[in-house]
Protein backbone atom coordinates (compact mmCIF):
# COMPACT_ATOMS: atom_id res chain seq x y z
CA UNK A 1 0.00 0.00 0.00
CA UNK A 2 2.89 2.34 0.84
CA UNK A 3 4.48 1.82 -2.57
CA UNK A 4 1.19 2.57 -4.21
CA UNK A 5 0.85 5.93 -2.37
CA UNK A 6 4.41 6.83 -3.37
CA UNK A 7 3.73 5.87 -6.99
CA UNK A 8 0.58 7.98 -6.99
CA UNK A 9 2.55 10.88 -5.50
CA UNK A 10 5.21 10.55 -8.18
CA UNK A 11 2.54 10.58 -10.87
CA UNK A 12 1.02 13.76 -9.40
CA UNK A 13 4.48 15.34 -9.19
CA UNK A 14 5.06 14.56 -12.87
CA UNK A 15 1.58 15.74 -13.92
CA UNK A 16 2.02 19.10 -12.18
CA UNK A 17 5.08 19.75 -14.34
CA UNK A 18 2.91 20.09 -17.46
CA UNK A 19 0.91 23.22 -16.54
CA UNK A 20 3.90 24.61 -14.60
CA UNK A 21 6.16 24.45 -17.66
CA UNK A 22 3.38 25.94 -19.80
CA UNK A 23 2.97 28.87 -17.41
CA UNK A 24 6.74 29.35 -17.16
CA UNK A 25 6.95 29.55 -20.96
CA UNK A 26 4.10 32.09 -20.99
CA UNK A 27 5.88 34.20 -18.33
CA UNK A 28 9.43 33.66 -19.66
CA UNK A 29 9.99 37.30 -20.58
CA UNK A 30 8.15 38.72 -17.58
CA UNK A 31 10.23 37.06 -14.86
CA UNK A 32 13.79 37.57 -13.77
CA UNK A 33 15.07 33.98 -13.54
CA UNK A 34 18.56 34.68 -12.17
CA UNK A 35 17.95 37.44 -9.64
CA UNK A 36 14.90 38.79 -7.77
CA UNK A 37 15.55 42.14 -9.40
CA UNK A 38 15.65 42.31 -13.21
CA UNK A 39 19.04 43.52 -14.50
CA UNK A 40 17.33 46.54 -16.07
CA UNK A 41 16.22 47.73 -12.60
CA UNK A 42 19.59 47.29 -10.90
CA UNK A 43 22.38 49.82 -10.79
CA UNK A 44 25.91 49.44 -9.44
CA UNK A 45 27.24 51.86 -6.85
CA UNK A 46 29.92 53.01 -9.30
CA UNK A 47 27.37 53.80 -11.99
CA UNK A 48 24.98 55.56 -9.59
CA UNK A 49 27.81 57.70 -8.21
CA UNK A 50 28.82 58.69 -11.73
CA UNK A 51 25.35 60.28 -12.14
CA UNK A 52 26.35 62.82 -9.47
CA UNK A 53 23.66 65.24 -8.32
CA UNK A 54 21.08 63.75 -10.66
CA UNK A 55 20.58 60.93 -8.17
CA UNK A 56 18.18 60.90 -5.25
CA UNK A 57 19.37 58.22 -2.81
CA UNK A 58 16.50 56.55 -0.98
CA UNK A 59 17.29 54.61 2.19
CA UNK A 60 14.74 51.79 2.58
CA UNK A 61 16.20 50.47 5.84
CA UNK A 62 14.40 50.96 9.18
CA UNK A 63 14.56 54.54 10.48
CA UNK A 64 16.92 53.59 13.38
CA UNK A 65 19.50 52.30 10.91
CA UNK A 66 19.09 55.42 8.77
CA UNK A 67 19.62 57.60 11.85
CA UNK A 68 22.81 55.71 12.70
CA UNK A 69 24.39 56.25 9.29
CA UNK A 70 23.39 56.65 5.66
CA UNK A 71 24.63 57.77 2.24
CA UNK A 72 25.13 61.56 2.38
CA UNK A 73 22.01 63.33 1.13
CA UNK A 74 19.88 60.16 1.25
CA UNK A 75 16.20 60.37 2.12
CA UNK A 76 14.65 57.83 4.46
CA UNK A 77 11.65 56.00 2.97
CA UNK A 78 10.74 52.64 4.43
CA UNK A 79 7.57 50.56 4.36
CA UNK A 80 6.92 50.88 8.11
CA UNK A 81 6.52 54.66 7.88
CA UNK A 82 5.53 54.83 4.20
CA UNK A 83 2.57 57.24 4.53
CA UNK A 84 4.54 59.59 6.75
CA UNK A 85 7.80 59.57 4.73
CA UNK A 86 6.48 59.49 1.16
CA UNK A 87 5.34 63.17 1.12
CA UNK A 88 8.78 64.21 2.43
CA UNK A 89 10.44 62.24 -0.36
CA UNK A 90 8.10 63.63 -3.05
CA UNK A 91 8.89 67.13 -1.79
CA UNK A 92 12.53 66.62 -2.83
CA UNK A 93 11.89 64.59 -5.97
CA UNK A 94 11.90 66.11 -9.45
CA UNK A 95 11.26 64.31 -12.77
CA UNK A 96 14.77 64.83 -14.15
CA UNK A 97 16.40 63.08 -11.18
CA UNK A 98 16.99 59.34 -10.97
CA UNK A 99 15.95 57.50 -7.83
CA UNK A 100 18.32 54.86 -6.42
CA UNK A 101 16.89 52.81 -3.54
CA UNK A 102 19.11 50.82 -1.20
CA UNK A 103 18.79 48.58 1.84
CA UNK A 104 21.38 46.82 3.99
CA UNK A 105 22.94 44.30 1.64
CA UNK A 106 22.49 42.14 -1.41
CA UNK A 107 20.10 39.81 0.38
CA UNK A 108 17.59 42.34 1.75
CA UNK A 109 14.19 42.89 0.14
CA UNK A 110 13.29 46.35 1.42
CA UNK A 111 14.86 48.25 -1.49
CA UNK A 112 13.07 46.04 -4.01
CA UNK A 113 9.71 46.58 -2.26
CA UNK A 114 10.17 50.35 -1.91
CA UNK A 115 11.29 50.66 -5.55
CA UNK A 116 8.25 48.66 -6.65
CA UNK A 117 5.89 50.88 -4.64
CA UNK A 118 7.50 54.03 -6.00
CA UNK A 119 6.92 52.76 -9.53
CA UNK A 120 3.41 51.48 -8.95
CA UNK A 121 1.92 53.81 -6.34
CA UNK A 122 3.83 57.02 -6.94
CA UNK A 123 4.04 56.36 -10.73
CA UNK A 124 7.75 57.25 -10.84
CA UNK A 125 9.77 56.07 -13.81
CA UNK A 126 13.50 56.28 -13.21
CA UNK A 127 13.72 54.10 -10.13
CA UNK A 128 16.66 51.71 -9.61
CA UNK A 129 17.79 49.38 -6.87
CA UNK A 130 21.40 49.65 -5.68
CA UNK A 131 23.22 46.38 -6.32
CA UNK A 132 24.81 45.21 -3.05
CA UNK A 133 23.02 47.91 -1.04
CA UNK A 134 24.51 49.91 1.81
CA UNK A 135 27.29 47.34 2.36
CA UNK A 136 28.54 47.78 -1.19
CA UNK A 137 28.41 51.58 -0.95
CA UNK A 138 30.33 51.47 2.34
CA UNK A 139 33.01 49.24 0.84
CA UNK A 140 33.53 51.68 -2.02
CA UNK A 141 33.46 54.90 -0.05
CA UNK A 142 34.92 54.27 3.44
Amino acid sequence: MKVSAVRQALLLIALALVPAIGEAIYFRNKVSWQSPIPASELVTAEQAQSWGDNVIWVDARPSEEFDRDHIPGAISLNEDRWNELLPQFLGQWSPERTVVVYCSAQSCNASREVAKRLREEAQLKNVFVLDGGWERWLKLNR
Partner: protein, 141 residues
Protein backbone atom coordinates in the same frame (compact mmCIF):
# COMPACT_ATOMS: atom_id res chain seq x y z
CA UNK B 1 -10.93 7.36 -0.84
CA UNK B 2 -12.75 7.75 2.49
CA UNK B 3 -16.47 7.00 2.25
CA UNK B 4 -17.78 8.11 5.64
CA UNK B 5 -19.74 11.35 5.43
CA UNK B 6 -17.79 13.46 7.98
CA UNK B 7 -14.46 12.56 6.40
CA UNK B 8 -15.78 13.33 2.92
CA UNK B 9 -16.60 16.82 4.20
CA UNK B 10 -13.07 17.14 5.64
CA UNK B 11 -11.63 16.00 2.29
CA UNK B 12 -13.78 18.58 0.45
CA UNK B 13 -12.71 21.40 2.76
CA UNK B 14 -8.99 20.54 2.66
CA UNK B 15 -8.99 19.86 -1.08
CA UNK B 16 -10.87 23.12 -1.62
CA UNK B 17 -8.38 25.09 0.49
CA UNK B 18 -5.46 23.78 -1.58
CA UNK B 19 -7.22 24.43 -4.89
CA UNK B 20 -8.04 27.98 -3.77
CA UNK B 21 -4.50 28.60 -2.49
CA UNK B 22 -2.99 27.07 -5.63
CA UNK B 23 -5.14 29.13 -8.02
CA UNK B 24 -4.30 32.38 -6.17
CA UNK B 25 -0.58 31.65 -6.41
CA UNK B 26 -0.71 30.37 -10.00
CA UNK B 27 -2.30 33.70 -10.97
CA UNK B 28 0.65 35.62 -9.48
CA UNK B 29 3.78 33.44 -9.73
CA UNK B 30 6.12 36.42 -9.44
CA UNK B 31 4.47 37.53 -6.21
CA UNK B 32 4.72 33.98 -4.89
CA UNK B 33 8.40 33.84 -5.90
CA UNK B 34 8.96 36.97 -3.78
CA UNK B 35 7.11 35.33 -0.88
CA UNK B 36 9.38 32.26 -1.13
CA UNK B 37 12.43 34.51 -1.37
CA UNK B 38 11.39 36.30 1.84
CA UNK B 39 12.07 33.09 3.80
CA UNK B 40 15.77 33.36 2.86
CA UNK B 41 16.03 29.57 2.75
CA UNK B 42 16.34 28.96 -0.99
CA UNK B 43 18.29 30.89 -3.62
CA UNK B 44 16.13 32.95 -5.99
CA UNK B 45 16.94 30.71 -8.97
CA UNK B 46 15.30 27.74 -7.23
CA UNK B 47 12.53 29.72 -5.51
CA UNK B 48 11.28 31.29 -8.73
CA UNK B 49 11.04 27.87 -10.40
CA UNK B 50 9.20 26.45 -7.39
CA UNK B 51 6.81 29.40 -7.58
CA UNK B 52 5.69 28.19 -10.99
CA UNK B 53 5.50 24.55 -9.95
CA UNK B 54 4.07 24.36 -6.40
CA UNK B 55 0.70 26.03 -7.11
CA UNK B 56 -0.08 23.44 -9.79
CA UNK B 57 1.00 20.62 -7.51
CA UNK B 58 -1.37 21.98 -4.84
CA UNK B 59 -4.23 22.27 -7.33
CA UNK B 60 -3.74 18.72 -8.63
CA UNK B 61 -3.41 17.26 -5.13
CA UNK B 62 -6.49 19.20 -3.97
CA UNK B 63 -8.43 17.76 -6.91
CA UNK B 64 -7.07 14.27 -6.15
CA UNK B 65 -8.32 14.48 -2.57
CA UNK B 66 -11.76 15.76 -3.59
CA UNK B 67 -12.30 13.44 -6.55
CA UNK B 68 -10.68 10.37 -4.99
CA UNK B 69 -8.33 9.86 -7.94
CA UNK B 70 -4.69 9.23 -6.89
CA UNK B 71 -6.11 9.89 -3.44
CA UNK B 72 -3.32 8.47 -1.28
CA UNK B 73 -0.65 10.15 -3.39
CA UNK B 74 -2.47 13.47 -3.03
CA UNK B 75 -2.70 13.06 0.75
CA UNK B 76 0.98 12.12 0.96
CA UNK B 77 2.13 15.19 -0.99
CA UNK B 78 -0.20 17.61 0.82
CA UNK B 79 0.93 16.29 4.21
CA UNK B 80 4.57 16.77 3.16
CA UNK B 81 3.86 20.28 1.84
CA UNK B 82 2.05 21.39 5.01
CA UNK B 83 4.87 19.97 7.14
CA UNK B 84 7.38 21.98 5.10
CA UNK B 85 5.23 25.16 5.38
CA UNK B 86 5.00 24.74 9.16
CA UNK B 87 8.75 24.07 9.52
CA UNK B 88 9.70 27.01 7.26
CA UNK B 89 7.35 29.39 9.13
CA UNK B 90 8.68 28.36 12.53
CA UNK B 91 12.33 28.56 11.38
CA UNK B 92 11.71 32.03 9.94
CA UNK B 93 10.05 33.19 13.14
CA UNK B 94 12.98 31.86 15.18
CA UNK B 95 15.40 33.66 12.83
CA UNK B 96 13.47 36.86 13.47
CA UNK B 97 12.18 37.28 9.93
CA UNK B 98 8.92 39.20 9.94
CA UNK B 99 7.32 37.72 6.85
CA UNK B 100 4.00 36.57 5.47
CA UNK B 101 3.87 32.88 4.56
CA UNK B 102 2.49 33.53 1.08
CA UNK B 103 0.32 30.42 1.47
CA UNK B 104 -2.66 32.20 -0.05
CA UNK B 105 -0.76 34.58 -2.28
CA UNK B 106 -0.86 38.18 -1.17
CA UNK B 107 -4.27 37.56 0.44
CA UNK B 108 -2.40 36.01 3.38
CA UNK B 109 -0.64 39.32 4.03
CA UNK B 110 -3.22 40.15 6.68
CA UNK B 111 -3.02 36.88 8.65
CA UNK B 112 -0.73 36.90 11.69
CA UNK B 113 2.02 34.33 12.21
CA UNK B 114 -0.07 32.49 14.81
CA UNK B 115 -3.12 32.65 12.55
CA UNK B 116 -1.10 30.95 9.83
CA UNK B 117 0.34 28.41 12.20
CA UNK B 118 -3.09 27.49 13.57
CA UNK B 119 -4.50 27.13 10.07
CA UNK B 120 -1.56 24.97 8.95
CA UNK B 121 -1.84 22.79 12.07
CA UNK B 122 -5.58 22.33 11.53
CA UNK B 123 -4.98 21.31 7.91
CA UNK B 124 -2.18 18.98 9.00
CA UNK B 125 -4.49 17.34 11.58
CA UNK B 126 -7.20 16.97 8.93
CA UNK B 127 -4.77 15.32 6.50
CA UNK B 128 -3.53 12.88 9.15
CA UNK B 129 -7.17 12.11 10.04
CA UNK B 130 -7.96 11.43 6.37
CA UNK B 131 -4.94 9.12 6.04
CA UNK B 132 -5.84 7.15 9.19
CA UNK B 133 -9.49 6.86 8.20
CA UNK B 134 -8.52 5.72 4.68
CA UNK B 135 -6.14 3.12 6.10
CA UNK B 136 -8.82 1.85 8.53
CA UNK B 137 -11.27 1.59 5.65
CA UNK B 138 -8.74 -0.34 3.52
CA UNK B 139 -8.02 -2.80 6.32
CA UNK B 140 -11.76 -3.55 6.70
CA UNK B 141 -11.99 -4.61 3.04
Amino acid sequence: MVKSFPWRIVALIIGGIFIYAGVLKAMDPVGFANDIDNYKILPWTIGVRLAFYLPWLEILCGLAVILGLLYRGGLLILTALVSIFIAASVISKVRGLDITCGCFGHASKYLSFFGHLLLDLAIFAGLIGLSISNRAQQSQL
